[in-house]
Each structure stands twice: as C-alpha cells, then as structure tokens.
Amino acid sequence: MSLQTSFLCISLLLPCVQVQAAINVFTCEPEWAALAKELGGDQLDIYSATTALQDPHHIQARPSLIAKARKADLLICAGAELETGWLPLLMRKAGNARIRAGQAGHFLAAEHIDMLEVPEKLDRSLGDVHASGNPHVHTDPRNISRIAGQLYKRLVGIDPDNTDIYSKRYSIFEREWQDAINVWNNQAAAVNGVNVVVHHDYWSYLIDWLGLVKVATLEPVPGVAPSTGHLSQIKQLLNTQPATMIIDTSYMNDRPVQWLSKQTGIPVVALPATVDYQGGESLYDWFKHIVDLITGQVE
C-alpha cells in the first residue's frame, strides 16, 4: 500500500483495512524468503516451503504446500531444475494461474545469473545433474545482488501501488549489501587459493567468489552418497594435494566427512545450507557466519 492510500484510509476511517492484505509470496527456499523480506518488508506475506535443514532437491508436494501455492501472488524459486522433483507437480495441483511459468508471478533466480557447471552430457549414471547448471546460486553474494535487482523490478510490476516502498527498500539494501561484500572480500582475502574438499557440489558459487580451489567432491556423482572405496581414493589424493578444510552442508548426513576428517586430520567446516529464515536470520547474518567459519580455518 502506498503512503497516499494508507494516509487516506486512516484519515477516512473507512473499512479499508482489507486493502492492507499483503502480497502473498511463496518461496521454494528460505534464502528467497529472506531476500523478499529485505525488499518488501511488511508489504509481503512470505511463506518458505523449506527450511535450512531440508534438502531442496527432495521435498514432497504436501497438501500444506499446495494450499500455500494456491494463494500465492508471487512464487520465487531457485530454478535450474533444483525443484524439478516437486515444483511442477505442486504448481499443477495448486490451480493458480498467477504463478505459472511465463507470468509475472513466476520468478526463478537462476534465470538471472551466469550459471556454473553447465553439463555437456546428460546421463542418469552421472547422478542428479541439472541440465541448466549448478542451481545453488545463492551461495555467492554477488548473485544475491543481481537477483535482488530483478526481484525488485518484479515486485514493482506486481504491486505498482507500492513502488515507492520497494524502491526505497531496494536502494538501501543494495547499498548496504555492496558494503558488506567489500568487507567480506577483505576478510576472505586470506583464503584465496586455499584447497578445499566438498561433500556435495553445493558451494560452487561460494568457491568461485572466494577463490577457493576444490580438489575433490565426496559424492562420486551428484546426489549419490560416497562409497568407502571412493572415500579411500580421495584420502590417497589428499596425500599429494593437501586440503585445508572439508566443507559439509548442514542438511546432509555427516558420516562420510567425519570419517575422512578422522583419517586425514583435515578439519570439517559444516556450513549452514542457507538462511534460517524461520528462525529470524537474515541474508547478511548467514553470509557473515559462513565467511567467519571459512576464514576461521586460516589464521
């Protein structure tokens, strides 16, 4: 609601309270809920389908999610087939034309950034590969900035009455975000070129941003748990190419990384997969936490 209308409604004391019903936003992952919160504040009624402890590849199109998608004015998801196992079914069930592909209410973050790890070959034996590239785009704050710009435009398109509010919030967010990136860049200069091992290729954009060097991935192919044979091979490899840390993702089973850490003495850094939006965390808090955890390994 714009300042004008809110002022008018208050002054009139008309039953305009109904007008205050917010724009319903449905996000597939909590990072987009956190971003929408930054840009829309109280104008948006935001629901995240998943939490930071859930694996966004494997979600069930539960009745509760269908009900939320049915009411949504705007859907925000990572895209790049991350949600391919459940989102198409959810959208079909929900019967909500506002959020179908091609509409203003359908926003996929991956459509607005340059994708990493776009495969040259598609084969089920290569695991859960995504034809469009690595979908975990939120792990680089520069991507967040780009996506914020596009999302801001989308919010204005959907709810033009409140353009002023979105504009103001976006400009503040963008200014503060660039400042934060500069701080993190300085803080993380020490980890540039450091060797790391990852559990799942979840952090590719973060690695790209911080200039880390990935020497191995524990999963032999995406989505497939490592066998002991594969882990032994990585152990061998780490003899010749020592790594500083093993990066794990919070929602994953940590047994393989703990085993490797015990065998090699390389510390495990368990990074929270995304923002704990439901717990009140912000995008800034989450990135700061991640940068602190990683730089903490290099003193």
Binding site: L12, Q18, L53, A61, R62, P88, G95, S132, D161
Partner: protein
C-alpha cells in the same frame, strides 16, 4: 478478479472518494530516485550481458515429452494353487487375481508426459502385462489437464485413474506393496480408471481443502455396459496440512455412483468345465474414506520416514445376477460389501524400507436364488477374508527397488502363504509422486 486486482480497485476507490493527494518529503524521494537510476543502469548492462552470454539458467533443456519406462517383474511362490484363488462374497473382475507362480513380468509401463503449452499438461501411460501367455497392451492414462484456469480450478479430460479413494490414483509402481489391498481387489479389480472429465477446486485457505467431481463413460469395471451419456460419476473431497515441520496428514471422502451397470465378472473357472461368467445388471454405489499420516524428521523424507495409510470402502449393489450357463440362470441381488486396510511403512535408512499391512473384508449379499449367487462367488458362508502382509525393500536409488513380501492370506477358507520377490526400475525422466 484476483485478490491483487481487488486490492488495487479498493485502493483507487479510497483515493477517488477524497480526491486528495498527499506528497512525500521531496528530498528523500530525490535521493532514492538518484540511487535507483544508478542501479537501473547497472541492471541494464547486466541484462545485455545476459543476452550475449549463453545462459541456460531456468530454461527447460530436457527432452520434451519426458519419457519414463518402468520395468517390473516378480517371482511368486504360493502354498495353495493360485488358480483356486477367490474372495468369498466378492465375485472377482478387472485385473484382480494373483501373479502367476514362478517368474513373470509384472506391470511394465511406458509413460509420456509434458506441458503441452502454457495452458495444458498431458500424460499418456501404456501398460504392458502378460495374462495367460498373451501380451496385453492397455492405455491406462491418456489425459490433458489445465494449467491456466486459475482460481484454484483444474479440469482434466481423457482417460485417467479416478480420484476415488487414496491409492487408486497412484501408479502401480508407486504402491507400497506388490499387490493391491483386498478391498481394491474386491471392488475395483485392483484399480479404477475410465474415460471422462474431472473438475476440482482448491479453496484459498491456509489449510488444504479440495472438492471435485468426475463424470465417466461408465465402460470400465466395476461399471460396464453401453451408456449414451454419463455412465458413472464420482464426488470427492480432501483436506490436509502439516503439524510442525516433521508431520503431515491428509484425509478424504469419496463417492461413486453408476446406474444401469452391466458388470461382467472375470471367468470363475470350474476345473474342466466351461467358465460361467456372472453378469451383474443394476445400480451400484461406493462410499470411501481415507486418512494418511506421514512423519519425516525435519521434513527430509529421503533419509527417514514413516507413513500410515488407512482406507475404508463400502459398496451397495441392487439389481440382478445372470449366469450364462445352459440354460441361463438368474437371481435378484441386494448386496453390501465393505472392507478396510491399514498399512504402515517405515523407511529407517536411506536405502531400506519395511512395511506391514492388514486387510479385512465383509459382505452381506441376498437374492431370490442363493444357488445362483453361490455360483457367482457372492456367498461367503460366514467367512470374512483377511490378510496380513509384511515387506522389506532395498532402494539402491530413487530409480530402483528390490522388494521381498510375505502374505498370510486368509482370502478364502484355505489359508495361503505367499512370497513375492519383486523388482521395479524406472528409466528416463521420472515425475514426482503426489503426497
């Protein structure tokens, strides 16, 4: 009008009723405006870069249509002769019956599905099964569904599995046991589909509430016969939600009705004599209720989960039973058949799942000539069919499954021990399964 338009209209109404404008603090607006201009420029340059670079993000680079092939096979072992199988009080029809003894192909499926354009989705399912050394190819699904109707409405047309009950809409490869629950075997011949349309509506509420109705040609078992218009129809409602992050539930009621049915039961074979095929003509009604509960720690179903599934059905048939014996015999029929099953599965590790199921049926069938009903298999002599099943599955990935299942089957008067070893593999694109 959607809620946004409604809000906009209301807002304008407020504004016009006063014809007053209020200006912002201009200094603040200017400041914001300048910053935004800069960002706009930056965004534009990024967008140009987008257009130049090869960016496949978000576009659908996969095959169209998505093709999925299900390989399914079973090794079955029985203590009794599977040819003797019957369900007293229920004349069997459709695909009801036991898998052949020894090795056999199960229900292989080829599924094509795709968004046809931005307004329609379509799916085509061919099932290939072998019955008595004959390969049968059956079109199980061939339907379109709307994507753009909006307002919570969906329209589906063509051939599809009816929304009656809960398990009925699941493809056979998604069932948690090798065989159908006894009540599905007894009433639907394992599974009910027909040609028709479905309209469903989801309410704009925080809790999931769905209402729907289907109209069918009425050609498929347990209906049957020729109908100029709508031969059978259903009405259903479902509701569901979450309790915290780890618990979910769904409950549903459904109703099926068919008048002037000509239902042909499967051949009820007497050894060494010609089969006498019972034919039911009359009106049929089915009422169903179901409840599903699922638990997965933190909502991560892939690692661990528990699922509890309950369904109850009751069927009332009134009409006549005709036997095509020489000479033909007939009886009136006033029938009431009901039963339920309760099953639970427990996925205790990512690659392992176990389950248990209990089935119980009852029936109360009366007519003018009980000997005819007896010939048709509709007299239960006080026997209530009952079955206990246990199973364990190894799931090397989401696309493969090896299952061992044991049934203690008291379907008929001589208890049977049944063992099934089943494999199910899915190749190609695999669509999501509904809750």
């Amino acid at each position: 009008m959607n809620s946004l338009e409604f809000r906009t209209a209301l807002a304008y109404a407020c504004a016009f009723s006063l014809s007053v404008t209020v200006t912002h603090s201009s200094a603040e607006t200017d400041d914001v405006g300048r910053t935004l201009e800069e960002y706009d420029k930056r965004l534009q340059s990024l967008e140009q870069r987008d257009a130049q670079s090869v960016n496949t993000g978000g576009t659908d680079a996969t095959f169209n249509p998505a093709i999925s092939i299900i390989l399914d096979g079973v090794f079955a072992s029985y203590k009794n002769d599977p040819g003797e199988y019957n369900l007293p009080g229920y004349a069997l029809g459709g695909e009801a019956g036991l898998s052949p003894e020894g090795f056999s192909l199960g229900h292989s499926e080829i599924i094509f599905s795709s968004n046809i354009d931005d307004k329609f989705f379509g799916r085509f399912t061919l099932a290939i099964a072998e019955h008595d050394n004959e390969i049968e190819v059956e079109v199980e699904e061939a339907f379109f569904e709307t994507l753009a109707l909006g307002g919570g409405f969906n329209l589906r047309g063509g051939r599809f599995y009816s929304a009656i009950g809960y398990q009925n809409q699941q493809h056979r490869h998604a069932w948690d046991f090798h065989d159908a629950p006894l009540i599905y075997r007894g009433l639907f011949g394992d599974q009910y589909f027909d040609d028709g349309i479905r309209l469903s509506y989801i309410t704009p509420t925080d809790i999931f509430v769905e209402f729907g109705a289907e109209a069918f040609a009425g050609k498929q078992y347990p209906a049957g016969g020729e109908n100029g218009g709508v031969g059978s129809w259903t009405a259903f409602t479902n509701t569901g939600g979450d309790i915290g992050i780890s618990h979910s539930w769904q409950a549903g009621l459904s109703y099926w009705s068919a008048d002037d049915v000509e239902r042909e039961y499967g051949g009820h074979a007497h050894t060494a004599t010609a089969p006498e095929v019972p034919l039911f003509t009359g009106d049929s009604r089915i009422y169903g209720a179901n409840a599903i509960y699922k638990w997965a720690p933190q909502g991560n179903y892939r690692e661990k989960n528990v699922k509890i599934q309950f369904e109850y059905f009751n069927r009332d048939d009134t009409g006549d039973i005709l036997l095509n014996s020489m000479p033909p015999e007939a009886s009136t029929l006033d029938s009431r058949q009901n039963g339920w099953y309760l099953q639970g599965t427990w996925k205790f590790m990512r690659h392992w799942q176990a389950g248990i199921r209990y089935d119980l049926l009852d029936s109360d069938n009366a007519g003018s000539d009980m000997s005819v009903l007896d010939e048709a298999g509709l007299v239960n002599y006080g026997h209530t069919p009952e079955r206990v099943s246990v199973m364990a599955e190894w799931l090397p990935s989401e696309y493969s499954r090896i299952r061992l299942q044991y049934n203690r089957d008291d379907s008929y008067q001589v208890p049977d021990d049944q063992v099934h070893i089943q494999y199910t593999f899915s190749m190609g694109a695999h669509g999501a399964h509904a809750f």
